[in-house]
C-alpha cells in the first residue's frame, strides 16, 4: 500500500484536523474535496488513504463521528473535532511550522563566508 500513498502519513492527519477546525463537522467526501481544493488538486486522496486516517484519529480521541442527514438529504457520517483534537492540532501545527522554518533555513542560499 505504501507506494500508492500520495500524501505523507503524518501530514494527512494535520490536514484533516485543520479542515475540521475551519469548516466544522464534515463527512469524508467533504474532507477529501477540501484537501484536494486547498492543494489546488496537486493531492488526490483515495478512500484507502483517507478512511484509515480518519479512523485512526477517532481511535486516538481527536475526532468523533456520527451519522447525520447531509445538505442534499443523504445519510452521511460526519466527523467533528474534539477538544483534545483541537489541542493536538495546535501542537502539530506549531511543530510543523518549526520544522518548515528549519528546513527552509537549511535550503536557502547562504552568504559567502558565513560560518556554518
Amino acid at each position: 500500500m505504501a507506494d500508492k500513498l500520495e500524501v505523507q502519513q503524518g501530514t494527512l492527519a494535520l490536514m484533516i484536523l485543520k479542515t475540521l477546525e475551519v469548516l466544522g463537522p464534515l463527512h469524508g467526501y467533504g474532507v477529501a474535496r477540501r484537501i484536494e481544493e486547498t492543494s489546488r488538486n496537486r493531492l488526490t486522496l483515495n478512500y484507502g488513504t483517507l478512511y484509515p486516517a480518519l479512523l485512526k484519529l477517532q481511535q486516538e480521541g481527536f475526532v468523533t463521528a456520527e451519522w447525520r442527514q447531509s445538505e442534499n438529504n443523504r445519510r452521511a457520517k460526519y466527523y467533528a473535532l474534539t477538544p483534545a483534537g483541537r489541542k493536538q492540532l495546535a501542537r502539530e501545527a506549531h511543530d510543523w511550522h518549526q520544522t518548515a522554518e528549519l528546513i527552509a533555513a537549511f535550503l536557502a542560499p547562504r552568504d559567502k563566508g558565513e560560518a556554518l
Binding site: K4, N46, Y47, G48, Q59, R74, A76
Partner: protein, 896 residues
Amino acid sequence: MRHLRAALARIAGFLTRHRADDELREELASHLDMEVAENVRRGMHRDEARRRALMASGGLTVAAEAVRAQRGLPWLESVAADLRFAVRTLRRTPVFTAVVVVTLALGIGANTAIFSVVRGVLLKPLPNRDGARLVYLRHSMDGPGGSNIAFSVPEVRDLRTGVPAFAGLAEYSPFSLTLRENGDAVHINVGLVTGNFFEVMGLSPVIGRLTRPSDDGPGVPPVIVLSHEFWLQRFGGDPGVVGTQLRLDGKPVTVIGVMQPAPFFPGRVDAMLNMVISEHHLSAQMVEGRTHRMTEIVARLAPGATVQRARTEVATVDARMQGEFKEAYDPASHYRVSVIPFKDALGERARLTLWLLMGAAAFVMIISAANVANLTLMRGVGKEHELVTRAALGAGIGRLRRLLLMENLVLALTGAAIGTLIAIAGVRLLVSLAARYSPRANEIRLDGTVLGFTLALSVILALLLAFVSSLPREGSFASVIAGGGRRASGNVRKQRLQRALVIAQVAVSVVLLAGAGLLTRTMLRLSNVQTGLTTESVLTMEVQLLDFTSATDSAADAAAKQTYMRMQREILTLPGVIDAAVGSPMPLRASIVQLEIKAEGKSRETGEAVPTAEFRTASPHFFHAAGIPLLTGREFTDGDGPGAQHVVVVNRALVDRLFPHEDPIGKRVAWTGDVLRFTPFSGDWRTIVGVVGNTRDGGLDAPPRAVMYLPFAEEGAFVGGGIVIRADSSAAALTVEATRIVRRIAPSTPIENVMTIAQIKDESVSPRRLNAALVSSFGLLALVIAAVGIGGVLAFSVSARTNEIGIRMSLGADRGRVQRMILSEGGVLLAIGLAAGVAAAYLAAGVVRGLLFGDAPPDPVTFVGVAAMMMCIGLLACWIPALRASRIDPAIIMRT
C-alpha cells in the same frame, strides 16, 4: 494515554468488526454517491460520472481492507484466517494428515511419558530444604551382600567428628515393627533416628512436630513421626492422630507429628521413631561395637563445602579407622566409604534403565520427524505449483512461509494432543516400572514442566518441518510459470535430503531393534535360569509370630514354635498338599543375616577374603517341601534340635568354597567373626549332615551365595518364620485354604508375601520383561515408520520417473528389469542404512551392557537377526512401488 486509548479502541473494533463492516460499506457508498452527484452536476453523463468516481476512489475493496487493518487486530485476524486455511488444506489430504498426526502422536506420546518419569525420578529437585546439599554415605566391601553394609555407631561417631565438610550428620537404622490395632496386625518399615535427623534432612512437619535432640537417649518416652504416605493410607489423613498412642511391638508409642512427603534411601519408610523403642539400639553392644553395622547415614554439606572436599575428608577418616582397628576391617575385603549426592543415590538403580528408555523414545521421535519431513517434502513438490500461483497472485514469501508454518503447527499440535493422551495411559504403566527401581516413583507427574516440554518439542518440530520445504525464491515465479507449471521431480538437493532421511531412519531402526533384541534375549535367558528348585508348584507365606524385642523370652519362643508346628500339621491335612514345612527366609528370598564362617582345621591364606554364608533355618522336610534337591547326606529330622548334637545342612556353594574336592559330610563348620558378639547366634562347631543344591536367593541374575541351614527348632523363632507348601498340582489354588488355617491359629499376626515360587521368580523377571517390551515396541514402531518412509520415497521416485520408465520400456526394457531397477534403488538405501545401523548398534551395545545378563555384547545372533528382519521388511516396502513401476504402460505415458 493516547496509545492506550488507541489500543483499547482497536480491541473494541476487533470485537465489533461485523457491525462496523456494514457501517463502513455504507460510509464508502455515500462518499461515492456524493462524488458521482458532483460529477453529474459538472455535466458528465451518469455512467461516465460513476466510472470517474470509482477510478478516483482507488478501489472500494482496497479501502475497506485498509480500514479493517487500522480498525481491529489485523495479525490476529490473519492468524485465524491462516489457521482456517491450514485446517482446510489438511482436510483435503486426509491420508497424509492422518499418517503424519499418528506418527507424531506416537513419537510425542512416548517422549512425554518417558520424560515425565525421568523428571520425577532423576531430575526434579528433592523436596528437602537445600536438598542439593545432602549426601548419602555408603559403606561397602567385596563379596556377596557387601555393596551396602551400613555403619556402626563408633564409625558414625568418627565420621561426625572427623569431617568438617559436614554441617550435620543424620543417622537412621532401618527397623521393622508390628503395629497392632483393633485385632489387625501389620508390619511397618520404620527408621530409628537421632533427634537431629529432620534438621539435617531439611524436612518440616505437615502437622505436629518432628523429633529433636531431647528425644535422644534412654529414659525418654518413645515417639513416632508418620510419613505422609503412611498417614494418608493408614489414618486417612486425619490430623487428630497426633497425640494419640499406637501399639508397636506391644509398646505404647505417642504420635507427635507427620512429616512432609519425601523420599528415603534405600527404600520407603512408613514412620520414624526415636531410638528408645529398641533397647538393643541403646545397649553397649550397639554403641560400642565397631563391627555392629546397622546405621545409614545422610549428611548435609557445610556452607562452602563441596562433595569433593567431603570425599577427601571421609577417605582420611576411613583410612585412620582402618589403621587403628585392624580387627574390624579385613584388608582382603577392601572396606570403603563413598560419598554420593543424595539425589543420585535415590536415582541410582533407575538411571541406566530410564536414560535407555529416554534414548529409545528420542530415537522414535527422530524417525517419526524424519518420516514427516519426507512426507512434507514429497507433498511440497506437489504444492510447488500451488505456492507459485499464490505468489503470483500477490502473497509475499513471508506470508507463504507463515501458511506452511501454520499447517505444520496444526499437525504437530494435534499430534501432541493425541500424544499426551497416549502418555497419560503410558505413565501409569511406567510408574509401576519405576517403583521397582526408585523410591521417588510416587513423584512422577504429567505436570506443567512436562507438558511444557511436550509443547516445546512440538513447536520445534513444526518450525523444522516448515523450513524443510523450500519456497520459490522471490522473483522466480515468472520463470516457473513460464516453464509450464507442473514439475513433479523436485530438485536434486531435495531428493538427496529425502534419501539421507531414509538412510537415517533405517540406521536408527536397526539400533533400536538391536537394543530391543539384546534386552529380550536377556529377559528370556533370565527366565530360563534354573532357580535351583525342582518344582514351581510351591506356595510360600511369611508369618512372623515373634517380635525381635522378645528375642530373650524363652517361654514365648517355645510357644511360637509350637504354633508353627500346629500350622504345618493342619496344612498337611489339606487335599492337594504333598508336604509342608517351616523355615526362614523363604526360598528365592535373600537372608538379611550374613556372617563369617570357618571350617575346622583350615586356615585362611593371606590375602584371601573372609568366607561368609547366609543364615537360614529349616524344619524337617523343608527341602522336600520347597523342592530343593538334597545332593548328599540327609535332611534335618525331629531328632535335631536343642540338646542334640549341633548339625547343619549346607549348600553346594559353601562346599565349593570351603571343601573343594572333599566329602563334606561329617566335617565341622562354625560361625565366626567379631560381629558374632552382637548376635544371638553361637559360634559352636556344627557337623555337616547334608548338602543341598544352590538356589538363586539373591535374584535370578545374582550368583548363588554360600548358605548354612540350621535346624528351625534350635534357633530363636524371632529370626523369622514362614511356611512352604508343596502342592501336587496348582500351588496358587491352595492360597485361600492355607491362609485361612494360619489366620485361625494366629489371628493377630500379619501374613505376608503369600506367593508361589513361580510368582517370586516372575517378580525378579518382570521389570526386565517390561523393559524389553517397551524397547521392543519402540523398535517395532521404528521399523514400521522406516518401512513407510522407504516405501514412500521409492513410490515418489517412481512417479517422478514415470516418463523415464516409459521411455525405457518402449526401448525394450522388460518388467523384470524395471522392477530390479527400482528395487536396487531402494536396496542401496537399505544397505547403507543397515551398515550404519549395525555399526552404531555395536557401539550402543556398550551402553546397555549394565542391563544385560549372560553373554556380553556383541551378541552376533541378535545382530544378524535384526539385520535380516530390517532387510526383509525394507525390501517388502520397496516391492510395492517396484511392482507399480513395472505396470507402467509406455503407450499411455508417451502419449501424454
